[in-house]
C-alpha cells in the first residue's frame, strides 16, 4: 500500500477532482491518497510539531477536515510521500524575467535566484520542516502550477520565445536546463523540488497547456462552480490526474 499526501492551498482542488474520477475508474488500487488544503496563504499558519502538521487557525483546521474527510492535522509518518502544492515553483519564469524580457541568465545567477527564492518562499520552508521530521517520508515541493499559456504574461513571453531574432528561445532552453540541474543538486535526503508534470507543460517548459486550465473548479465547500475564464492559475482534474500519475511513478 502506497500512501500519498497532497498538502497545499486552492491548488489541491485539481487533485481532489482527479481523485474522484480515478476512484470511480478503479485506477487507485493499492494506493491511499489524502488531501489537505486550505485557501490562499492561510497555510502560512501551519506549524510542524510532534510529527504532525497542524495550525492554530480554526479556518485551516476546518478546511483540513473538509478536504481530508475528517482529519484536522497531517500525521507525517503516515505517508510515503507528501507533495506540497502551494508557494511558487522555482520553475516559474517570473523569477528570471526582467519586465517582459527574459535576460541571459548565467548558471551562477540562476543559482542565486533559486537560493533566494528557497529562503523567501514560506511553502518551501514548510516543506523542508516537514522533511526534517522523518527521513523515511519523501517530501516533494511542486508548488503552485505554472500559469496557463492563455495568460497575457505567457502570451508575451511565448511571442518572444518563438521569434528567433529575440534570442529568448535559446535563453529559455538554457535556463530550463540550468534550473533542472540546480534542482537536482539541491535535492538532499528526503526533500526535493519537482517540476510540474512534463505532459502538462507547453514546449518552453514555463507554462501550463491551455487544456489543463480550462474548467478548473473553485475550491470552496459550499460552491460547486468553475473558475472564471480569465483565471490562469488554477488547473483542472486532468492536471490533478497528471500529478497523481507522476507521484505514483
Amino acid at each position: 500500500m502506497k500512501r500519498l499526501c497532497f498538502l497545499g492551498n486552492s491548488h489541491v482542488a485539481a487533485v481532489r477532482a482527479a481523485l474522484n474520477d480515478m476512484r470511480v475508474e478503479g485506477g487507485l488500487a493499492g494506493v491511499e491518497v489524502d488531501v489537505f488544503g486550505s485557501q490562499r496563504n492561510s497555510l502560512r499558519t501551519a506549524t510542524v510539531r510532534n510529527g504532525v502538521v497542524g495550525s492554530s487557525s480554526a479556518f485551516v483546521q476546518k478546511n483540513f477536515r473538509w478536504t481530508s474527510g475528517g482529519m484536522s492535522e497531517v500525521e507525517i509518518a503516515r505517508y510515503d510521500e507528501i507533495i506540497i502544492l502551494a508557494g511558487i515553483s522555482v520553475f516559474s519564469s517570473a523569477h528570471y524575467q526582467a519586465g517582459t524580457d527574459l535576460p541571459m541568465i548565467s548558471s551562477g545567477m540562476a543559482d542565486a535566484i533559486i537560493t533566494h527564492h528557497m529562503e523567501q518562499d514560506w511553502a518551501i520552508g514548510l516543506a523542508r520542516l516537514i522533511a526534517e521530521v522523518s527521513g523515511s517520508v519523501q517530501v516533494s515541493f511542486v508548488g503552485s502550477p505554472l500559469i496557463s499559456v492563455d495568460s497575457p504574461r505567457a502570451q508575451k513571453f511565448l511571442a518572444q520565445y518563438h521569434d528567433r531574432d529575440t534570442g529568448v528561445g535559446v535563453r529559455a532552453r538554457n535556463l530550463r536546463t540550468m534550473i533542472d540541474r540546480s534542482v537536482v543538486a539541491r535535492s538532499a535526503g528526503n526533500f526535493r523540488m519537482k517540476a510540474p508534470p512534463a505532459d502538462a507543460l507547453e514546449d518552453s517548459g514555463f507554462f501550463t497547456r491551455s487544456a489543463y486550465c480550462k474548467g478548473s473548479m473553485l475550491f470552496k465547500p459550499e460552491v460547486d462552480a468553475q473558475h472564471p475564464g480569465n483565471d490562469f492559475v488554477h488547473m483542472n482534474a486532468q492536471y490533478g490526474r497528471l500529478l497523481l500519475q507522476d507521484a505514483l511513478g
Binding site: 524575467q97 526582467a98 535576460p103 548565467s106 551562477g108 535566484i113 534570442g167 538554457n174
Partner: protein, 351 residues
C-alpha cells in the same frame, strides 16, 4: 580705473568665488548649456563615481534608462554584485574613454578582434567586465552568450538615449598586446593571472583620450542620424588612483591622470555644442573643503560630498519629482559603500 576684470561676476574671482562662500554650496559653479527635459532619456556610464550621479538622477525623477535590469527573482542585495542597477546597462565601470569606444564599436560592428576571456579556478570571466559575475561563468560559451546579450542591450541604449552622462575616471589601463583592446582591471586581480604576459600597461595621452571620445561621438552620430543628436554631459571622477603602474608616485600619477581627463572634458565642452561639463571634480577637490569630502582613505567621497555635488547639479537641473506632490516615497539612495569600485581591489596588493 577700468580693466578687463572690472565688470566680472563674483564667481570669477578666487576670493569671492571660493574663499568667501561655503564649500557646501559653491554658488554658480555650474551653468548649464541646455535643459534636460522630463521626457529625455538619460544614459549613464563611467568610473565608479558615476554611480552616485545615476542614482541621484533616478531618485530625483529623471528618466534614467536601465536597458539591462535585474531579473525579478534576484535579491536586491545581490544586484550590484551582478552589475545590475549601477549604470544604464550591465557594463560595469568604464574607467577610460577607450573602454567606452570599444564598447560602442563592439555593439555596432562585427568586431573581428578576439573576445577576451579570463579563467580562475575553473570559472570564466569576461575580461571587459570582470566583476559583473561574482563567481565567474560556468563556461566560455556562457561568457560569450552573456556578452552577446549585453551588447544587444547596449545597442538599444545608444539608439534610445537622449543625454549620455559619462564620468571620466582614469587614463591608465591595460592593453591586450595582440588585439589592442583595453580591459578595466589588470589581469590577475580578479582572474586571468596566467594571461598577464599578454597585456601591457598604457597611460593614455590627452590626444588619445580626446580622439577616443570624438570617435564615440562620430560613431553614434552616424548611427543615429542628424535628427536625433545625442547630448553628452561629462564629469571627471574626483576619486584619486588607488595605485599606479606608471612608475610615478601615485599622487603625481593621479594628478596627471585627472588633469588630462579634465582638460579633454573642458575642450570637448568648449568645442562641441552637444557636450556639457559638470564640475563634480572641482566641487570635491575644492581647497575650501580642505579634504573633508574624502573618507579616511583620502580617496572615497563621503556621502556629504556627493550631496554637495548633486545639489549643485539640481540647482541647475531642478528635480523632476516633487515628493510632496506625488505622495510617492523617494527611492532610497544607497550609502557610499554600495558603490562598486573595482580598482579598490588593487588595495589588497598595496604594501
Amino acid at each position: 580705473m577700468k580693466n578687463y576684470y572690472s565688470d566680472l561676476d563674483r564667481r570669477a574671482f578666487w576670493k569671492t568665488g571660493v574663499v568667501a562662500p561655503s564649500h557646501l554650496t559653491v554658488p554658480e559653479i555650474y551653468q548649464k548649456k541646455w535643459e534636460i527635459g522630463p521626457d529625455q532619456k538619460i544614459g549613464t556610464a563611467g568610473s565608479c563615481f558615476a554611480q552616485h550621479i545615476a542614482r541621484h538622477l533616478t531618485q530625483n525623477g529623471y528618466r534614467v534608462l536601465d536597458v539591462e535590469p535585474a531579473p525579478r527573482g534576484l535579491s536586491e542585495v545581490q544586484h550590484a554584485a551582478f552589475g545590475y542597477g549601477m549604470y544604464s546597462a550591465r557594463y560595469g565601470n568604464l574607467y577610460s574613454a577607450r573602454q567606452l569606444r570599444q564598447l560602442v564599436e563592439a555593439a555596432f560592428s562585427d568586431d573581428p578582434r578576439p573576445f577576451l576571456i579570463w579563467e580562475r579556478e575553473g570559472r570564466f570571466f569576461d575580461a571587459f567586465r570582470p566583476t559583473i559575475e561574482p563567481n565567474g561563468f560556468l563556461s566560455r560559451d556562457e561568457v560569450i552568450e552573456a556578452r552577446r546579450y549585453h551588447l544587444r542591450c547596449v545597442r538599444r541604449l545608444f539608439l534610445e538615449v537622449d543625454v549620455f552622462v559619462f564620468t571620466l575616471g582614469l587614463t591608465e589601463a591595460w592593453v591586450h598586446k595582440e588585439s589592442g583592446q583595453v580591459v578595466p582591471l589588470a589581469p590577475g586581480i580578479v582572474a586571468g593571472e596566467d594571461r598577464a604576459q599578454d597585456y601591457e600597461f598604457v597611460n593614455f595621452s590627452y590626444g588619445e583620450v580626446e580622439a577616443d571620445f570624438r570617435a564615440v561621438m562620430q560613431m553614434l552620430d552616424d548611427l543615429r542620424g542628424r535628427k536625433r543628436p545625442l547630448r553628452y554631459l561629462l564629469t571627471v571622477s574626483p576619486v584619486p588612483l588607488t595605485a599606479t603602474a606608471s612608475g610615478q608616485h601615485v599622487l603625481a600619477a593621479s594628478t596627471y591622470s585627472k588633469s588630462v581627463l579634465r582638460a579633454v572634458a573642458g575642450w570637448l565642452c568648449e568645442t562641441c555644442d552637444n557636450v556639457d561639463y559638470f564640475p563634480s571634480y572641482e566641487i570635491i577637490t575644492n581647497p575650501a573643503a580642505r579634504g573633508t569630502f574624502f573618507e579616511s582613505n583620502l580617496r572615497s567621497v563621503m556621502t556629504e560630498g556627493v550631496e554637495v555635488v548633486m545639489n549643485a547639479f539640481f540647482a541647475a537641473h531642478p528635480p523632476r519629482l516633487r515628493r510632496e506632490e506625488t505622495g510617492q516615497r523617494p527611492t532610497e539612495v544607497p550609502a557610499n559603500e554600495d558603490v562598486q569600485c573595482d580598482e579598490q581591489m588593487l588595495e589588497a596588493f598595496g604594501r
